[in-house]
């Protein structure tokens, strides 16, 4: 047992001698305490020597020994960091509902998390705001309409993954961390579109209701995979296309930067969904039919155009066509461009679902997306 002078004191561990004439106040300089140090014997796996790679010391670099082992089912209800020794007396601080690995897992979560951290940007200083100049009224109004719509959408995009973070056991911290980073991204998206609306003589328009109905219903998912298929694959796949269109139809370098940088973040969120679904495809055959049903539902919404702001007959799709055409007078031309890009969006959607391991639905007649594309092209 080590003994020694100690600055500060631990209740119960004080064992000091009071000299004659000494005041009752504890003279910390002369306190002798017995250090317990028994915590030193309660180690997780030791002798780890993580080494940085080309991208620095990443989460992938510390998947060493037992620290890299993720249980198929987690019984961790106490917030214990994966690989740390359990503390028998600890309280149940998390009533985690996501404790089965395949419910949330994906192979490249730690990679996506590092990518999110390393590719952050600031809506305050990385957007060349000084390049925004007065625009014709119809163009400014269309930009503000889109900015209003996207501000609403980004609230949902942040709120929904956020709910699942505290539901997930710390044993699966990699996907959890990706979701935490996504929430940061969505906060930035929300703020950058609000900034755009207020930056050029316009303002916010009437709330579009873009988060009611189908988009809002993403939040009703009771299962993580159901949520992810709605949010990451179909919802954010559509938003990625809007951001890419936004970059195309930008009227200044500031808008170019806003949409390009948002599209990068969005593609990362979509990648999470594709990789999670691929993991389910490979590891959870018993859930394939259920996932096909999520995709059925998502495709019904995509084809109805109601979930898809790049669809038709919504305020935001009118705004997109006006921006693409170059003004109200060129709406028809803009609408043609919009429909061409929407077809590409559907092709990309199908290829993503195929990449995720559920491509048979486009060959066996289950999905109507191909037929819909053929009709719209005719």
């Amino acid at each position: 047992m080590v003994k020694g002078p100690y600055i500060g004191y631990i209740l119960g561990d004080l064992n000091y001698r009071r000299e004659p004439g000494m005041s009752e106040a504890v003279d910390l300089a002369t306190v002798e305490i017995e250090l317990k140090l028994d915590w030193m014997n309660r180690q997780g796996e030791w002798q780890t020597h993580a080494k940085p790679g080309k991208s620095g010391l990443t989460l992938a670099d510390i998947q060493i020994g037992s620290y890299g082992e993720t249980p198929e089912i987690s019984d961790n209800m106490t917030g214990r960091p994966r690989g740390a020794q359990a503390r028998p007396g600890s309280f149940r601080i998390g009533n985690y509902s996501v404790r089965t690995k395949n419910e949330i897992w994906l192979e490249n979560a730690s990679f996506l998390y590092e990518e999110a951290l390393q590719r952050q940007w600031s809506s305050a200083t990385d957007v060349p705001w000084h390049t925004i100049e007065p625009l014709p009224d119809d163009i400014e109004e269309a930009q503000c309409e889109l900015a209003t719509f996207l501000t609403e959408v980004e609230f949902v995009a942040g709120d929904v993954p956020a709910r699942w973070i505290s539901e997930t056991t710390p044993d699966y911290f990699e996907p959890r961390n990706v979701l935490l980073a996504q929430v940061m991204d969505e906060a930035r998206h929300m703020d950058v579109f609000r900034k755009r609306a207020l930056a050029n003589g316009g303002g916010l328009m009437q709330a579009t209701g873009g988060t009611a109905g189908v988009v809002g219903s993403i939040d009703l998912a009771r299962d993580f995979t159901e949520m992810s298929s709605r949010l990451h694959i179909s919802g954010e796949g559509a938003v990625l296309t809007i951001f890419r269109m936004g970059e195309l139809m930008a009227y200044n370098d500031a808008e170019k930067a806003i949409y390009r940088l948002c599209a990068q973040d969005e593609a990362r969120h979509v990648a999470f969904g594709v990789m999670h679904m691929r993991y389910m495809s490979e590891e959870a055959p018993d859930r394939h039919e259920e996932i096909e049903c999520y995709l059925d539902e998502a495709e019904r919404q995509i084809l109805a155009g109601s979930q898809n702001p790049a669809g038709n007959q919504t305020a935001s799709s009118e705004a997109l066509a006006i921006l693409l055409g170059g003004g109200v007078a060129h709406y028809d031309e803009g609408f043609r461009k919009l429909m061409a890009i929407r077809r590409r969006q559907l092709v990309e959607y199908m290829k993503r679902v195929k990449s995720a391991g559920f491509g048979k639905r486009f060959e066996n007649g289950r999905s109507q997306v191909k037929e819909m594309m053929a009709v719209s092209a005719a």
């Binding site: 991208s55 620095g56 390393q118 930008a250 170019k256 990068q264 990648a271 890009i341 993503r352």
Partner: protein, 145 residues
């Protein structure tokens, strides 16, 4: 002395500018793991990013396109127009950014042999890095042969 576009020398000179300027690691740039190719007319140049750096660029034959995550394909004249626009403006102007070229051209810009959208999506996920790379060409002298 000016480097001829397109050539290994041209790409590697741009690469030196890109790799030596820390400003390209922030502002939405940064770590990038991606194998891509630039198909310029009939010629193919492999552009690989590893971590925060671009690897040495080499010319390859068309068969190499099968191995990359995506490749950007335009006729020589269209590539030259893009490079000239970047040189004239210090960076791509509104009509010459990579994403705009991809959406504005009927045949698109970004393609793949494998058609795996997860890999094709890397063009969107790392778009700012690729834009930074080509924008860096404004800082070298280019000739067009």
């Amino acid at each position: 002395m000016a480097s001829v576009f397109p050539s290994e020398d041209w790409f590697n000179e741009v690469r030196s500018v890109f790799n030596s300027d820390d400003s390209y690691r922030g502002a939405g740039g940064g770590s990038c793991e991606c194998r891509s190719a630039m198909k310029i007319g009939r010629r193919v140049f492999l552009l690989n990013f590893e971590g925060i750096e671009c690897a040495p660029v080499v010319e390859a034959d068309k068969g190499a396109l099968a191995d990359v995550d995506f490749y950007l394909d335009m006729p020589l004249a269209d590539w030259q127009a893009m490079v000239k626009d970047i040189a004239a403006n210090g960076g791509a102007s509104l009509h010459y950014t990579l994403n705009t070229l991809d959406l504005d051209r009927a045949e698109g810009l970004s393609h793949s042999v494998h058609e795996d959208q997860f890999r094709e999506d890397l063009f969107f996920r790392y778009n700012q890095t690729f834009q930074f790379f080509f924008d860096a060409s404004a800082r070298i002298k280019t000739s067009f042969g």
